[in-house]
C-alpha cells in the first residue's frame, strides 16, 4: 500500500531536492551559458558577498516581523473563538477565518494593491480624517501588511485548536488556588497555547520566507527577498546553479526553525 506514494516522493520529490543541492555546487559556463558539471563552491561564496547578505537579512527580518504581527493579532481572536464565544458563534467565527484562508492568494495580494496605492481606499480614508496621505503602496510597509494579512488565518487556526483543548478544570483549579485572571493567563493558558503558536508560526514564517509574488507585485525597489533573487536568477538570468544555491538558504533557515518549533511542541499541536 505504501510503496506507490513513497516511490512518488522518493523519485520525484526527494531526488529533485537532492539534485537541486548538487546543482548548487555546479556553475554556469560564462561563454556557452551551459551548466558546467564540475563541483565548485563559487555560488556559495557569491551568496555571502555582494547584495545577497542584505537580501537574506531583509527576508528573515520580514518573516519574523510578519510572524510576530500575526501572533499578536491572532491570539485574542483565537481566544474569543475558543473560550468566550458560544458554540454557534464559534462555528461562525471559524468559517469567517477559513473562507479568507481559502480565498485566492493573488486576489488577496491584488486587493492590497488597490487599497494601498495612491488613489486607494487608505489614502482616501486618511484624507477624510484630515490626516496626511500614508502612500503605503509599493513599499516594504505594504509588503508587511499584505503578508500579515494573507497568512493571518494560518496563525489563528492552530492557536484556536490549542486553546480549545485546554480543559476548563485547569482554569478553575488555577482560580481556586487564588491566581488572578492575569496569572492564570500567563502561567496556565499561555504555556498551553505555545505549541499552537509555534505551529502557526511555522506557516507564517515559511510562507513569507519563500515568497516572490507579493514582493514583486506590492513591494518597492528596495523589497527584493530571497525568493525574488531565486526567481530572477533562474527565470531571467538562466543561472540555475546560483538559484539552487540560494534555495539552500531558506532550507537551512527552515531546518533551524523547525528544530526550534519541535522543541516547543509544535508538531503535537498541528
Amino acid at each position: 500500500m505504501l510503496s506507490p506514494p513513497l516511490l512518488w516522493f522518493l523519485v520525484i520529490y526527494l531526488s529533485s531536492l537532492v539534485l537541486m543541492l548538487i546543482t548548487s555546487l555546479w556553475s554556469i559556463n560564462g561563454f556557452t551559458s551551459q551548466i558546467d558539471h564540475h563541483l565548485t563552491g563559487q555560488n556559495f561564496s557569491q551568496i555571502v558577498s555582494g547584495a545577497y547578505p542584505s537580501i537574506i537579512g531583509r527576508t528573515v527580518l520580514l518573516a519574523v516581523l510578519v510572524t510576530l504581527t500575526d501572533a499578536v493579532v491572532a491570539f485574542p481572536f483565537a481566544y474569543v473563538m475558543a473560550r468566550v464565544a458560544t458554540q454557534s458563534t464559534q462555528r461562525i467565527l471559524l468559517g469567517a477565518v477559513l473562507l479568507p484562508l481559502w480565498a485566492s492568494y493573488l486576489a488577496k495580494v491584488y486587493a492590497w494593491i488597490s487599497i494601498l496605492e495612491k488613489g486607494g481606499a487608505l489614502n482616501w480614508t486618511f484624507s477624510r480624517l484630515g490626516l496626511p496621505d500614508p502612500n503605503l503602496g509599493f513599499t516594504n510597509g505594504a509588503m508587511w501588511i499584505a503578508f500579515s494579512y494573507i497568512w493571518l488565518p494560518y496563525m489563528i487556526v492552530p492557536i484556536y485548536g490549542a486553546l480549545e483543548r485546554i480543559p476548563s478544570s485547569l482554569l478553575d483549579a488555577s482560580a481556586d488556588l487564588g491566581a488572578s485572571a492575569w496569572n492564570t493567563f500567563r502561567r496556565v493558558i499561555l504555556p498551553l497555547a505555545l505549541p499552537g503558536l509555534a505551529a502557526g508560526s511555522i506557516f507564517t514564517f515559511s510562507l513569507t520566507l519563500g515568497d516572490y509574488v507579493t514582493p514583486l507585485l506590492i513591494g518597492g525597489s528596495n523589497s527584493t527577498l530571497i525568493g525574488n533573487a531565486i526567481y530572477e536568477n533562474l527565470l531571467t538570468g538562466g543561472n540555475l546553479p546560483l538559484a539552487a544555491a540560494l534555495s539552500a538558504v531558506p532550507i537551512g533557515v527552515m531546518v533551524i526553525y523547525l528544530g526550534l518549533a519541535k522543541r516547543l511542541g509544535a508538531f503535537e499541536a498541528l
Binding site: 506514494p5 529533485s16 486587493a111 488597490s114 494560518y154
Partner: protein, 272 residues
C-alpha cells in the same frame, strides 16, 4: 467591572479582525463593477461590462481551461496516492511512520519556491520539456498530503471492529473494502479532493517553475497585475476565482466538519 471591560475589548478586537479579513476581499469584488480603467476609491460609475469582457477573452478562457485540467488531474493522482499512503500508515506498525508523515508534509512546510526550483532543476537535468504534465506532477506532490490528512483522520476515528466483523462474517478483502471501508471514508475522500482541487487551482509559486509557455489562470493573473495590463479584467477574474473556490470549501466543510479543512495548517498527527 474590569472583567466586563476586558470582554468588551476582546469583542472589539474580534470585530476589528473580521473587518481586516473581509474588507480587502469586498474591495476587489466592488472594483469589478468599476466603470473606470484606472482604479480610484471611491468608485464613481458602475458597470457590469468587465464581466463580459473577461468572459470573451480567449487568453482568460484558455488559462482557465488549463488550470481546470491540471487541477482535476492532480486531484485524481493525489487521491489515489494520498489514500494509499493513509491506509499504509494507518495499518502498518513499524518504526519510521513519523518520518513518512513528515515527508508528506514537507512540500507544504518548506517554502513553495523550494519545490519549484527542485522540480525545475530535475526536469532540466532529465531533459523534460515543461508542459501541462510537469505542472500536474508539481501540484500532485503538494496535494497528496491534503488527501492523506483527511483520510487518515477518518481512519483513526473508524473502529477496527467494523472491519473485523466484516471478515468474521465471511467477506473477502475486496468485499470489505467495497462495502465497509469505502463507505466510511467516502466523505473524507470527497472533501479531501475538493480541498486538493482548490489548492491546485490557485497555486502560483510552484507553478511558475513547472509551467512552460502556457499560462494557468493564476499565472495569467500574476502577469497581468505585474504588467499593469487588463486590470479591470483582473478584478473580475479574481472575484470569480474567489467564488469558485468558496464552493468546494463550503461543501468540504459540510462533509467533514471543519476538522481538516485548513490543510496547510492541519499537518499529519503523530500516530497514536
Amino acid at each position: 467591572m474590569r472583567r466586563r471591560f476586558a470582554r468588551a475589548g476582546l469583542w472589539l478586537w474580534v470585530w476589528g479582525v473580521l473587518f481586516f479579513l473581509f474588507a480587502p476581499i469586498a474591495t476587489i469584488v466592488l472594483f469589478g463593477f468599476d466603470k473606470s480603467n484606472v482604479e480610484t476609491w471611491p468608485i464613481q460609475h458602475w458597470t457590469f461590462s468587465w464581466y463580459s469582457v473577461a468572459w470573451h477573452d480567449p487568453q482568460v478562457r484558455s488559462a482557465f481551461a488549463l488550470s481546470l485540467k491540471a487541477a482535476v488531474a492532480a486531484t485524481i493522482v493525489a487521491l489515489v496516492l494520498g489514500s494509499m499512503a493513509a491506509f499504509g500508515v494507518h495499518r502498518a506498525r513499524f518504526f519510521g511512520r513519523d518520518s513518512i508523515s513528515l515527508l508528506l508534509i514537507l512540500p507544504l512546510a518548506l517554502p513553495g519556491i523550494i519545490t519549484g526550483v527542485a522540480l525545475n532543476s530535475a526536469f532540466q537535468w532529465a531533459g523534460i520539456t515543461l508542459s501541462i504534465w510537469t505542472i500536474i506532477v508539481g501540484h500532485t506532490t503538494f496535494c497528496i498530503v491534503v488527501i492523506y490528512n483527511n483520510v487518515i483522520a477518518r481512519l483513526r476515528r473508524t473502529s477496527n471492529t467494523l472491519l473485523e466483523a466484516s471478515a468474521d462474517l465471511g467477506a473477502t478483502g475486496a468485499q470489505t473494502l467495497r462495502f465497509v471501508t469505502l463507505p466510511t471514508i467516502a466523505t473524507a475522500l470527497v472533501s479531501g479532493a475538493l480541498l486538493a482541487f482548490a489548492l491546485s487551482f490557485d497555486e502560483v509559486i510552484v507553478t511558475t517553475f513547472t509551467a512552460g509557455a502556457q499560462n494557468t489562470l493564476p499565472i495569467w493573473i500574476f502577469g497581468a497585475i505585474r504588467l499593469g495590463q487588463q486590470l479591470p479584467e483582473v478584478n473580475v477574474v479574481v472575484t470569480m476565482v474567489v467564488i469558485l473556490m468558496f464552493v468546494p470549501i463550503l461543501v468540504a466543510a459540510r462533509l467533514t466538519g471543519s476538522e481538516n479543512f485548513a490543510p496547510r495548517v492541519a499537518a499529519p498527527q503523530p500516530p497514536k
